[in-house]
Point group: C2
Chain length 230, copies 2
């Protein structure tokens, strides 16, 4: 049984059709349960930051989300605007298509530029495990180290037919990070499809240092939830 499980959780709401009232609730829950952060789309960063001021709960947002297939400059612009609006952490999606095409310099430079503009703010790099072979997961994790990422994050939660975070993938990322000098400084965010407390604890046991889920309250309280996790 892991103590203070709440402090691992990025309380997440990325549905494009979420209403302001949903974000109000998200932020109130995050304060109540003392989650580590909320994770919202760029358009809602300013609102979340205003709601969470002084609470100790961080505001994370997503960049190039969920496809990762836009321009590096577009991701850079999004990052800068989000920081202006009060984002404390940046969850960016890699250029998945470039990684699969072995354009590793494109992928690394894409991450590096976001890390640069994010400055002291941690950048979590979503590698979208469901889209990759194990060899590609390893390669993506190594690129995250080289590019100065704070964490490797498994999934967007939006990949068609995807499973999201698995114990096996977290273990693979952990082994990869531990294999390279400096890699052990990076955290791992397991995200997507985390079903319940037992699932959350298994991911932490495998090496996850952060959990991205829309089921945070159910995970903490043990309530049943049918919410789809993003």
């Amino acid at each position: 049984m892991i103590e203070r499980l709440n402090e691992y959780i990025d309380h997440t709401l990325l549905k494009p059709n979420a209403k302001q009232a949903d974000f109000e609730l998200l932020c109130a829950e995050a304060r109540l349960y003392k989650f580590k952060a909320v994770c919202v789309n760029p358009y809602r960063v300013k609102y979340a930051a205003s709601q969470l001021q002084g609470s100790g709960v961080l505001v994370a947002t997503v960049v190039g989300f969920p496809l990762g297939a836009s321009y590096t400059s577009a991701k850079v612009g999004e990052t800068m605007m989000a920081i202006d609006d009060g984002a404390d952490e940046i969850d960016m999606v890699i250029n998945i298509s470039a990684l699969i095409d072995s354009q590793t310099m494109v992928v690394e430079r894409d991450i590096e530029r976001i890390v640069q503009v994010a400055g002291r703010r941690p950048v979590k790099v979503i590698i979208e495990t469901d889209a990759l072979t194990n060899a590609q997961k390893v390669q993506a994790s190594l690129l995250c180290i080289d590019a100065g990422a704070a964490m490797v994050k498994t999934s967007t939660g939006f990949f068609a037919g995807g499973k999201g975070a698995t114990v096996e993938d977290v273990q693979l990322i952990k082994r990869t990070l531990d294999s390279k000098p400096g890699g052990d400084k990076l955290g791992i965010k397991a995200s997507g499809g985390i079903p319940d407390r037992a699932g959350a604890e298994a991911l932490i046991a495998a090496g996850a240092t952060r959990l991205g889920t829309s089921r945070g309250v159910a995970i903490i309280t043990g309530a049943k939830s049918d919410a789809k996790t993003y």
Copy 2:
């Protein structure tokens, strides 16, 4: 039986894990079948434009895709970069969340800014019908007229549990456009989930002037296809 059905089709590949070889095939098919356009993510616009030079096939790309929940300025930047890379048409996603919250000025201004920077290039505005009530679909379509859009587009193909384009929604959008002065100048792009030639023809009969599908070849040739449509 609609003639030249091929000329209605935006041959679409938006999967984040598509490879360069997939885009090569997409462009070759678009040339062969003389589709109206290909529709690709920003990162692949330059490649598609190079492959399709002189072919008469247009290059469409997506902006703020598929959630629509980023900053207007980020969408503007994406649009400018895509045009630089050779995009002929821009398919943007509205700020769905703002529409649902009745922040109509936010939604309209978001569209207007993209129309401005797109200049002579048509802007198709994705309203994501699966996320909206009928009243919201009507409102979104009216905003498209006011903001200078070239087309109302039904769906991203990425909405969780969504059906994509339906005959009923196309009819509703058509009636809405016809109800307002200037509205009949706008086209309608039906996208997402178009199963086959009969489905395509039903959407055109309902008022669609463009079809967005990853099943274009199967629709034209009558072949069976299991491809998920985006």
